[in-house]
Amino acid sequence: MDGIDRRILDIIQTQFPLSPTPFKEVGERLGIGEEEVIERIKALKEKGIIRRIGATFEPRKLGFTSTLCAASVPEERIEEFVAVVNSYPGVTHNYERDHDYNIWFTLIGRSKEEIERSIAEIEERTGIRGIKNLPTIRRFKINVSFSFERP
C-alpha cells in the first residue's frame, strides 16, 4: 500500500462521489487515470483492506433496533457458543475480548422484544446464562472511517 492507495482510501471512505463516473473523479483529484483508480481499488479489495463499497444503512430509520450483548463463556465452550450466536442473521459483529465477559456481539432485530427472545433462545440452546443486554441509550458518535493521510 503506497501513498496513492492511502489517499484513495481516504477519499472513497468519506467523500465517495455520487456521480456517473465516481472513479474518474477520484482520479482527477489525485492526478491519475480512472483505470488506475479501479485497478488499485481491485487490488485493495483482494488484500481485504477494502471489504466492500456501498451503502451503510441506519437501522433505526428502517424500523430496526440493535443492541450489544456480553456473555461469560468458559474457554472450552466458546466454539460451540459462537457457532450458535453467529447463526443469527442479526448478529453482525462478534468478538472475543480479554475480560470476564469474554464474548461480545451485536444483535439487530425488528424490536426490543424480538431481541430479547433471541437472547433467551441463545441461552436456552447453549446453556450459557446471564447474557447481558446493553442497548444504546444515547449515541454520541458513530464514525467508522479510518484516516491515513493527515492534512
Binding site: 455520487l18 488484500k47 471489504r51 463499497i53 472475543e96 475480560h99 458518535k141
Partner: protein, 153 residues
Amino acid sequence: MDEVTRQICRIIQEDIPLSPRPFLEIARRVGKTEEEVLRIVEDLKEKGIIRKFGAVLGHRKAGFRANGMVVWNVPEGERERVGNIMASFKEVTHCYERPTMDGWRYSIFTMVHGKTREECLAIAERISEATGIKDYRVLFSTREFKKRSMKYF
C-alpha cells in the same frame, strides 16, 4: 419505500460494480436510468436512511490491528458532558451510553482503533485525563468471530 428503491438497496447494501459507470450498471439491472438511480441514492442519504456511502474497510488488514473497547464508569449526571468530550477525540469511532446493571457498572462505551495496543492505552489515558473519569477498562479484542454488514433488504 417502493419496489425499485428496495431493489437498489439490495444491491448497494453489498457492493457496487467496480466499473467506470457503476450506477449505470445498477440502473440497467433495475430498469431505471442512471440519473434516477443516483437521485434515489442521494435522497436516501439526505433522509439519513443511508448513513454513509463509500468504502468499508477491513480495519485489521488496513493496519489498525488493535481495537480497544473502552468502558467507563461515569456517574449519571455527568454522562452528557463526558460523552461529548469523548466523542470529540478523533481516535474514537463510536461513543455510546448503555445501561448499567447488577455486575456491570460501566455506562459509556468508546471504540478506539490504533496500530498497537500501546497506542490504544495511551488514547484511553488521554481521554481519562480530559474527562476526569478514572474508573475504566480497555477490552482488547483477541479474536474476531464475525464482522459483516447487515442485510436489511
